[in-house]
Each structure stands twice: as structure tokens, then as C-alpha cells.
Subunit: 152 residues, 2 copies
Amino acid sequence: MLRLSKKADYALLAMRHLAAHHDRGAMSSRELAETYDIPSELLAKVLQKLVRGRLLVSVQGIRGGYALSRPADRISVADVIQAVDGPLTVTACSDADHSCEQYSKCNIRDPLWRIKDRIISALAATSVSELAADMAIPTPPPDVVPLAMLRK
Amino acid sequence: MLRLSKKADYALLAMRHLAAHHDRGAMSSRELAETYDIPSELLAKVLQKLVRGRLLVSVQGIRGGYALSRPADRISVADVIQAVDGPLTVTACSDADHSCEQYSKCNIRDPLWRIKDRIISALAATSVSELAADMAIPTPPPDVVPLAMLRK
DNA sequence: GCTAAAATGGACTCCTGAGGTCGGATATCT
DNA sequence: AGATATCCGACCTCAGGAGTCCATTTTAGC
């Protein structure tokens, strides 16, 4: 439960990659798809949504591709998820949408909405640049570590 | 996205109700189901899971029903959700389960797991008693508020 | 002891929506 | 002109969530 959609996964993967390699110019959808073994047509749709969400810019034609629209540290994980999957909701209902059988009798809306806000905060507090920074240690020095320190 | 399952909703609804009315003894599944317009057989399954998760105790036979197994302030929303839907995961993979096409090439696991921990913290920080306490103000004083203060 | 009302448990159906596919139009470089 | 991109809509498939049905067991009250 509470799992991210595949689309969101793919979007974050792509965003991180573009953030880490922003030095090179635009990167094509196909190249990204091959790098991460993602169905290319599907990734293409995801990238299109990111463009419409103003997180990426695209250049068409040969040698075209996608690039971040702004510095990676000004794009949050929440931005990415919402661009791909729409406004993220924890409950079926929201301020706008009361389409829930139990809406009238429901008594846990307010506390759950508060929890939702905390979740969004957590997602908004993490930027794409932080995702990229995380792999600063891609393969830690292998056989220097004493065996005793290895857990399981 | 990131939405709770209906089962989790029902579970929280029921837990809150039992917490608010713990003075009366056990409450039957049918009575709860009627109160909140929930299919009774479905709610029954949810309640059974809560029993197996040690959050509720059940008494069988006529005049039987369910009651909280411990004080409501010692049961968190996270407990309830996990009892009903199993361990809550944000990503397809976890420490135990690597069944994801992209696992080897994935580079956003660690930051996402950290986000997951923050989400779990948010859920663990809210207790069932807080859910119940929330309705202390069921209908706030209506026409005392100056119209100018109402935001559309 | 019988019966009614409750929990318990398994198996089954229904159906939405996530995940993925296909084809074609449009733009741009060589 | 042709190759390689993005772009866009329509479509297909299928696992899993949501809900149903039924058979069994337990227990209070008569």
C-alpha cells in the first residue's frame, strides 16, 4: 500500500539521470529507456507529462531529446510525482471531490488530510539534486572492509 | 497515487469508532457496518485482520463483537494500516524483495527508502485516540463568524 | 439441548485502472 | 529527401482491489 506508480518510478529515474548528466545536452527518450530497461513508448509518455508539467524542456527532430527546465535543486520529488500522476491524495475524497460513499458519516477526514500534508512535505523536502547526489558512492571500496563488519 | 486502500479506510473508521465508544462493551461487525454503510462481509474480514494483528480482541457467539486490545493512544495509524494491508512499501523493492526489473540499474532506492521512513514516521506519530479526539468539535458555532472572514 | 446471533475462513466473481502497445502526425537536422 | 526525434490518441491486457457467497464454529439465552 501507498506505493508509487511505475510511471512515477520511471519519472524519478529519468529526472535523476538528467540531473546527473546535465553537462551533456538533451538526451533522447530511447536512450534513457535503454539505459534503464524501460519500454520506450511508455517512458515517452511519462516524459511528455513532465514537459507539460514544466519540469522538462524538449527539443524535437534529430539530435533532439529532453533536459531539465531548471536547476535540479529547484525540482522536488513531489513536483515530479504530481506532474506524472496528478495531485496526490491519500484518501478517496478531497476538498473538491466528495465522491465517497461514507463522506457524510466519515469522521477521520481531517486527521488523514493532516497526515497527507505531512507526506507531501516529506516529498517536497527532497529535491531531484539530492537524488543524484546520493550515488556519490556508486561502488564502495570492496575488499577493504573487514568481514566482521558486514551484516548478513 | 499513494492512496490508502478501502480496507485501510474501513479499518481506521472502525478503530476510531471503537476508541470513541470503548465504554460500551464489544461491538458487532454488523452494527459497525450498518453505522458506516460498509458491506458487512467485507468489514468482517478487515476486523479479522485487525484481530490477527493484535489490535482488536474478539468475543464469539451471540452478544459477541470486537473491542480494542489496548488503549487507543497506544495504537498508531501505521499499526492499523500494516495490520490490514501488510508492510507498507513505497517502492516495489525492499530490503527483502528485489523483484523489480530495474533493481540492478536503479539509483534512487536509498533516497526513496528514506522518504518511506519519513512517511511511516508520520503515520506512526498519529494514534487512534487522536483520530477520535478530532471530532471534539463536530459542528463549530455557525453564524458568529463575520462573513468577511470566510474564505470562499 | 436448541436456536439465534455472532465470529471465522475459504473460494469465488466483477471490474477498474495501471501498465504496456501500436500507428501515425509533426518537427528538425544532414 | 530521408533519418531520427518528439508528440498524441486510441487501443489492449491483466493483476489486484473490492465485493459476494457460503459453510463452519462458537456462545448466550431460552
